[in-house]
C-alpha cells in the first residue's frame, strides 16, 4: 500500500499495482492522475465514455462488466479500447475508473 499524489494537494491510497484501495475515493482528478500511470496523458471524451460506463456498472453491480458488454455499450471495438487504454480494459481502463484490481484469471 502506498500514498498516491493526485497532484492537487490531495493523496489517495493505492495498492502494489497502483489500483485505488477505496473505490469511493475516486473522482475525476484521481482518474486523470491514474491515467498518467497507465500511459494515458489526457483523458478526452472517448476515454470518459469508457470510464463513465465502467464506473456506473461497477456502482450498480459491484464488478466490472464483461468486456463484450463494455464494447457494445460504448460502441468501441476492443482494439479501439486498447488504443485508448494501452494497458487494456482490465488493467488500464478499470484502474482509471477507480475499480479494485481484478482477481482470478483476469
Amino acid at each position: 500500500m502506498a500514498e498516491f499524489d493526485v497532484g492537487n494537494g490531495t493523496t489517495v491510497e493505492i495498492d502494489e499495482d497502483g489500483f485505488l484501495q477505496e473505490p469511493e475515493n475516486w473522482n475525476k482528478e484521481v482518474a486523470a492522475a491514474l491515467g498518467k500511470t497507465e500511459g494515458v496523458e489526457d483523458l478526452v471524451d472517448e476515454h470518459w465514455k469508457v470510464v463513465d460506463f465502467l464506473r456506473e456498472y461497477y456502482l450498480e453491480f459491484g464488478v466490472a462488466p464483461m468486456i463484450r458488454k463494455l464494447c457494445k455499450s460504448t460502441g468501441f471495438k476492443l482494439n479501439k479500447i486498447y488504443e485508448l487504454f494501452p494497458s487494456g480494459p482490465a488493467k488500464g481502463a478499470c484502474k482509471i475508473a477507480g475499480l479494485p484490481k481484478p482477481t482470478g484469471c483476469v
Binding site: 502494489e16 499495482d17 453491480f61 459491484g62 464488478v63 466490472a64 462488466p65 464483461m66 468486456i67 463484450r68 458488454k69 457494445k72 482490465a90 488493467k91 481484478p102 482477481t103 482470478g104 484469471c105 483476469v106
Partner: protein, 448 residues
C-alpha cells in the same frame, strides 16, 4: 515483523519470525496426514540430479539459469526432507554438524518454486520418473502454511472460499445474471430462431456447469459457444448461482485449499441434484476437479467430471452434434493446456472437432502429451508482477512455436492459457488471433 525477503511476487505482510521452525512443523503435519511421505522417501533415494530434465523445460531453455533446472529445484525440498525426516539425515546432522534449514534456504525455495510453471513436461525426460511439478506443488503448499504465497492467488482463493461472491473474480450473482442475459441477447442476434439459453439454478439438471469464472468477464464467444453447443445437443444443464466457479487454485499451491474448493463446488451440484460436473474451457479447472474428486471426496459422494470439449466430441462422434465441415478457412492451430494434455486425457478430442471444421488445421512442432506450456501455468499467469518473466522466459518458446505455424487462429481452451497467450501475442507482436474452441465451434454448428 515483515517477511525478510522481497520476492518477485507480492506477498501479504506476515509474521516473519521463526520461519524455519514453522516451516518444519507445517512440513511434518503435511507428511503425517497425506501420502507425500512415501513419494519423497523414494525421490530422495533415486534422484540422480542428472539434469536430463533440462531438455524439456521451456523455462530453462529460455533462461539458461541453473535455478531453473527442474531437479536442482526439486533438490531444495528433498534436502530438507532428507535432513529432518529420514533417519540417515538426522544421524548425519548429529555426527557431522550437517545442513540446517535457514531463512535464506526458505527464501531460495520461495523464489525458485514459483519460477516453475508446473507443466510437468520434465517428467517425460526424467529417467527416474520424478514428478517435479508435484514437488513444486508440495513445496508451495508447505510455504503457504507459513504465509509465503503470491498475493494474487491468496486473495482469489480467499474470495472464493470466504467472500460473498464465492468466486475468484468476486463477481456478484446479480452481475452474473446480467451477463447471462446479455449473452442470451447476443445469441439471439446471431441465431434468432434458436432461443439459446443459459439455464440458471435448474434443479435436477444433469450437467452443472463450472467454467473458469473469468470467462464471465473476458470470454463472451467461448461462453456463447458453450451454450450453443449444449442447446444443439439438447442437454439438460444449468449454472448454479451459489457456486459457479470452476477455478481451483488449490491445485497450484495447497491441497488444503484444493479440498475445500472441490467440496464447495460439489455441494452446489448436490444442492441442485445434478449428476455431472461439467467443466468449461479450462485446463487447471478440469484437472483440479477430476483429481480432486478422487483425492478428497468419499467414493459414494463423487460425481463424474467431464470437460465440455469431451462432451462436444462425444456427441459429435454419436452424430448428435452436427458440424458443418471446413467452415473456418483461415489457418488454425491448437495449444494444449498442460493440465489436460500431459496425461493424455484431452488431446485428440478437440483435434477431431477442429480437423472437421477447419480447412487448414496445423500442429505446432511439439504438441499433445509433449506440448509446451504457454508459460503461465501453475498459477503464475495470475501474478501480474512477473509479466516480464512470463513473456520473455516462460512464454518465449510458445511464442516461437505459434509464430512458426503461421496460423491465423490459435485455439487455446483454458482460461490461464488464454490470458497468457493474449499477452504473448501482444508482447511478441504475433500475427495470430487467440480463440477458444467453442468460439470456432459456434460458427460450424448445424442446428437443423
Amino acid at each position: 515483523m515483515k517477511a525478510q525477503a522481497k520476492y518477485s511476487y507480492h506477498v501479504e505482510a506476515v509474521d516473519g519470525q521463526e520461519r524455519p521452525r514453522r516451516f518444519l512443523e507445517a512440513f511434518a503435519a503435511i507428511l503425517e496426514h497425506s501420502n507425500y511421505g512415501p513419494v519423497l522417501e523414494h525421490y530422495t533415494r533415486v534422484s540422480a540430479k542428472c539434469s536430463r530434465c533440462t531438455a524439456s523445460c521451456q523455462v530453462y531453455e529460455a533462461s539458461g539459469d541453473p535455478r531453473d533446472i527442474p531437479c536442482h529445484r526439486t533438490e531444495l525440498l528433498l534436502k530438507v526432507y532428507r535432513r529432518y525426516f529420514t533417519l540417515a539425515g538426522q544421524l548425519k546432522a548429529r555426527l557431522y554438524d550437517y545442513y540446517t534449514l535457514t531463512d535464506a534456504h526458505i527464501d531460495e525455495m520461495a523464489e525458485e518454486f514459483w519460477r516453475c510453471t508446473a507443466c510437468r513436461r520434465c517428467k517425460l525426460s526424467c529417467p527416474m520418473g520424478i514428478d517435479h511439478g508435484m514437488v513444486a506443488h508440495l513445496a508451495r503448499w508447505v510455504m503457504s502454511e507459513i504465509d509465503i504465497v503470491p498475493k494474487a492467488l491468496l486473495v482469489s482463493v480467499r474470495e472464493q472460499l470466504e467472500g460473498k461472491s464465492k468466486n475468484t473474480s468476486a463477481i456478484p450473482v446479480a452481475a452474473i445474471k446480467d451477463t447471462l442475459e446479455f449473452l442470451e441477447e447476443e445469441l439471439e442476434e446471431v441465431f434468432p430462431d434458436q432461443k439459446i439459453k443459459f439455464p440458471v439454478d435448474v434443479e435436477g439438471a444433469k450437467y452443472v456447469f463450472f467454467p473458469a469464472v473469468s470467462d464471465y468477464l473476458m470470454e463472451a464467444d467461448t461462453l456463447m459457444g458453450n451454450a450453443a453447443m449444449m442447446h444443439a445437443i439438447d442437454a439438460s444443464w444449468t449454472v448454479g448461482t451459489q457456486n459457479l466457479d470452476g477455478i481451483d487454485y488449490g491445485l497450484f499451491y495447497s491441497d488444503r485449499m484444493w479440498e475445500r474448493i472441490i467440496k464447495a463446488q460439489l455441494a452446489e451440484i448436490k444442492r441442485l441434484g445434478g449428476q455431472v460436473m461439467l467443466i468449461g474451457e479450462c485446463g487447471h479447472a478440469s484437472r483440479s476437479a477430476r483429481e480432486g474428486m478422487q483425492n478428497f471426496i468419499a467414493p459414494e459422494d463423487r460425481v463424474p467430471v467431464v470437460n465440455i470439449m469431451e462432451l462436444a466430441h462425444e456427441k459429435f462422434r454419436q452424430g448428435k452434434l452436427k458440424l458443418k465441415p471446413d467452415v473456418i478457412e483461415e489457418r488454425t492451430t491448437y495449444h494444449d493446456p498442460c493440465n489436460i494434455a500431459r496425461t493424455g486425457w484431452i488431446v485428440e478430442q478437440p483435434r477431431v472437432l477442429l480437423r472437421h471444421i477447419c480447412k487448414d488445421f496445423v500442429e505446432m512442432d511439439s504438441h499433445g502429451v509433449n506440448g509446451i506450456c504457454c508459460g503461465g501455468g501453475g498459477g503464475t499467469v495470475s501474478i501480474d508482477e512477473i509479466h516480464e518473466f512470463r513473456m520473455m522466459i516462460g512464454g518465449k518458446t510458445k511464442a516461437e512455436q505459434i509464430r512458426k505455424t503461421g496460423a491465423h487462429y490459435v485455439v487455446t481452451p483454458c482460461a490461464n492459457c488464454k490470458k497468457q497467450v493474449d499477452e504473448i501475442i501482444k508482447a511478441h507482436k504475433l500475427p495470430t488471433n487467440r480463440v477458444g474452441l467453442h468460439d470456432l465451434l459456434i460458427k460450424a454448428i448445424d442446428f437443423s
